[in-house]
């Protein structure tokens, strides 16, 4: 054993200066320029870009639990932009571009790994839909193409090409598809934001929103009242509940989504594979575990409980795709709360309350949009409520004018 190590072992003090990624909690001030409710990926990303690009750092992120402990920790970490509408593809492509650079930007490894995403078509209708998605994607600079069964066999030799008697007819091969460590994304943004003066207050729950003459002036928390210039709500899974405190309704229904992970095995699956017809997506993590996700639960509920029937139906389909997985053991399961909008697109922008900005309706597509959503929200907050072009189509008002952005067919596992 090296002597230096022995010396450290016997030393009363830790020999190196302790390096904290996040500063210690501070006193909650009575006023901030911007209050961000929700310390998940979206909230901290918004704070980060506000401080970095707009010089606004008198910002408090109020998180009722702990950093990235909500849906940021519960998603299946898929990054992709192969959506259907031009509005959607433009938005998610920007996110993919930002994700690629995040590790360098943070000087912190978010374990971004671009392996491509393969979606399977089992019907002629799905093939037609894929053809359209591939063209829309190419048009906006994405790398997506329609591939035939032979190419699918070469990409994923272990795949059963006739799962549940529904032969695989074609695949949508999205080369930009990737995965990243979801927690690290939140940590990286939080680190960058707090270094620039933003305050992250964990265990600080917003109990009420103070609205005076149609304008938000502050929030009540379990640690006292805070007045503010504006509020950003970024509380995926609880959007309707917080909006009710601010005094308005949202076009959202909240469903649980269950996911699970197996014991680790040797690497065999490079791309992320999903089958909308079988309501199932599968990916192998860097540690070798297989992550399974499916559609949201069949009826609305605010509970992250587990059900045997969903496990059974999801895994039956997963085993159809990869029959040899039948003997593998599940290691963990969990659920998140998904705020589903009727058009399967998010809600970003203004609300009926002045200076109260919405970042909601993130259903099952929240993680993949973390960077671009944070950047766009920051731009909007900094300009005093001027909605950036990129997110204009996603205003809550689109439901009142019947201009939905339909992405239902582009979810990885139809819900």
């Amino acid at each position: 054993m090296p002597f230096s190590l022995l010396k450290y072992g016997l030393n009363k003090d830790y020999p190196f200066e302790q390096h904290a990624d996040l500063p210690k909690p501070t006193v909650l001030k009575s006023h901030y320029d911007v209050v961000i409710i929700g310390g998940g990926g979206h909230g901290v990303a918004t704070a980060y870009y506000l401080a970095k690009y707009h010089g606004i750092n008198n910002v408090a992120i109020l998180e009722k639990s702990y950093l990235g402990g909500g849906n940021t920790a519960r998603n299946t970490a898929v990054i992709r932009s192969n959506y259907l509408t031009s509005e959607g593809v433009k938005f998610y492509s920007e996110s993919v571009k930002l994700f690629k650079e995040l590790s360098n930007e943070f000087d912190f490894n978010i374990m971004y790994s671009q392996r491509g995403q393969l979606t399977l078509a089992h019907t002629d209708a799905a093939v037609r839909g894929f053809r359209q998605r591939a063209e829309v994607n190419k048009h906006f600079g994405g790398k997506t193409e329609l591939i035939d069964p032979q190419q699918i066999r070469e990409l994923v030799p272990t795949l059963n090409m006739n799962p549940a008697d529904m032969p695989v007819l074609a695949g949508l091969w999205h080369m930009d598809g990737a995965t990243a460590r979801h927690d690290a994304v939140a940590w990286g943004y939080a680190k960058g934001a707090t270094q620039r003066g933003v305050e992250l207050h964990q265990l600080t729950e917003v109990t009420d929103v103070i609205v005076e003459q149609g304008k938000v002036t502050g929030v009540k928390t379990n640690r006292g009242n805070v007045s503010c210039g504006c509020v950003v709500q970024a509380v995926a899974g609880h959007s309707s509940l917080l909006a009710a405190k601010a005094g308005f309704k949202m076009p959202i229904t909240t469903f649980p989504l269950q996911a699970m992970v197996t014991q680790p095995v040797k690497p065999f699956l490079d791309p992320l594979v999903s089958s909308p017809s079988l309501h199932c997506y599968v990916q192998q993590t860097g540690r070798g575990e297989l992550v399974f996700g499916g559609g949201s639960d069949p009826y609305p509920l605010y509970s992250t409980r587990s059900t045997m029937d969903l496990k059974e139906s999801l895994l039956a389909n997963a085993v159809e795709l990869f029959p040899f997985m039948a003997n593998m053991r599940l290691m963990r399961q969990w659920a998140g709360l998904t705020d589903i909008t009727s058009d399967y697109s998010p809600i970003m922008g203004l609300s009926p309350v002045d200076n109260y900005y919405l970042d909601a309706g993130w259903g099952t597509w929240g993680f993949k949009s973390t960077p671009i959503c944070g950047k766009s929200m920051a731009e909007m907050v900094a300009s005093g409520g001027k909605v950036p072009e990129l997110i204009k189509p996603f205003s809550m008002d689109r439901f009142n004018s019947f201009r939905q952005v339909n992405e239902m067919g582009a979810t990885a596992a139809s819900h």
Partner: protein, 100 residues
Amino acid sequence: MKMMNCPLNGLRNISEFVHGGEVKEMPDPNSCSDKEWADYVFFSDNAISVVTEWWLHAPSGYWFIAERHTGSDEILKTYDPSVLFSERVEFSAPATEVKA
């Protein structure tokens, strides 16, 4: 599996049922504003509370009403729609409203 008490068929597996959304009062589609209609079809309280909902027992095609807590998933009551609705709702627009 979770069970639900169908007013017509008795206790059945939850997988036989389809959720049909909250029971809300429908504005008159022929006279309400776009805003009122959007509010009816898209917006909801989506609260954690006991909610009165439409449910369908799919195998028998029977629609009924359930009172369920959206936090605990406890189903408190199920009953036939005739308890709340005394007359049948007709969805077809009057013939005079149809434009070529």
